[in-house]
């Protein structure tokens, strides 16, 4: 049902993205969905109000190559995905080291369907006089 969706693999992701940019596609955003044993990483592009999406099925544990070298605007959303899903992203133009949105003490990878238990001992009531 997703408009103009095309499957890509980890190998041809960068070439697919690079081939769209000269055609006048504008990077809209990325979405990451936790499917249980894998992630769906969706790259949304737009041209003349038509949405076009690349779908990358990424098994859990694999790294995600960054497209921020091609599309700078992707750097923020890639950092966000890294924070919220705990996916390792390689080749980020600006790397916030997992602290783009979440601070110390916040739960790690909270948007996973089964998020890991909080590891930081002081997660509850951490800000006391902090």
């Amino acid at each position: 049902m997703l408009q103009n969706c095309k499957d890509v693999t980890r190998e041809n992701l960068l070439t697919e993205v690079a081939s769209r940019l000269p055609l006048g596609y504008r990077f809209v955003t990325m979405t990451c969905v936790d499917l249980g044993d894998a992630f769906d990483v969706l790259y949304h592009f737009d041209k003349n109000y038509e949405l076009s999406t690349l779908r990358l099925r990424l098994p859990k544990g694999e790294t995600l190559p960054s497209v921020s070298g091609l599309v700078f605007a992707a750097v923020l959303v890639e950092n966000e995905i890294k924070d919220l899903f705990g996916i390792a992203v390689t080749g980020l133009a600006i790397d916030y080291q997992g602290h783009f949105i979440l601070a110390d003490g916040a739960p790690t990878a909270p948007l996973l369907k089964n998020p890991p238990p909080p590891t930081a001992p002081a997660a509850e009531g951490a800000p006391k006089n902090g």
Binding site: L102, A103, D104, G105, P110, P115, G125, A126, P127, G130
Partner: protein, 162 residues
């Protein structure tokens, strides 16, 4: 209305707010509600302020900043918490990055409910805060704030009602 003996200067910090309370707070300062009539002045520097207006709940990153702003204010000082998020987290209470109201980090003097509170309610809140500030200046201990809990309970309903 309690007569304000002093001009409370206000510093505003947006914690986890959705902006609704912030713009209603700013609306209080603009011509229609004009809190400056009471000598309320919005300042940017916490060291100039007597009243800290907080909007939104607390998360892991801004708790430290909020505490920092509060600590910089000279004593005596009062805290006004605007909106339901500051009291309990409001609609965001179940979020992973929200650990409840502002009272977990700061002692709060006045809770103003509403989502967002109306400017009239905010003015009421600031007037109440100023009264508490006056008490603190005189060295009195103002009465403890009522915990924002179960404000309305018609529980004593006779049985056999349909």
């Amino acid at each position: 209305m309690a007569k304000l003996a002093r001009s409370p200067w206000v510093v505003h910090y947006n914690c986890n707010s959705c902006n609704g309370c912030d713009i209603e707070f700013l609306a209080c300062l603009t011509p229609m509600y004009d809190a400056e009539r009471f000598g309320v002045l919005h300042v940017g520097n916490p060291k100039h302020a007597d009243v800290l207006v907080v909007t939104g709940s607390v998360n892991h990153r801004n708790a430290r900043v909020l505490r920092n702003v509060y600590d910089q204010m000279p004593d005596p000082k009062v805290v006004v918490a605007l909106g339901v998020c500051t009291s309990s987290g409001g609609i965001f209470a179940g979020c992973y990055n929200v650990f409840g109201g502002v009272e977990k980090v700061l002692p709060v003097d006045v809770f103003v409910p509403g989502c967002p509170p109306r400017p009239e309610a905010i003015l009421d809140g600031i007037v109440k805060a100023a009264a508490r500030l006056g008490a603190k200046i005189r060295g009195e201990t103002p009465p403890p704030v009522e915990k924002p809990k179960a404000a309305f309970q018609p529980a004593a309903v006779p049985e056999e009602k349909k």
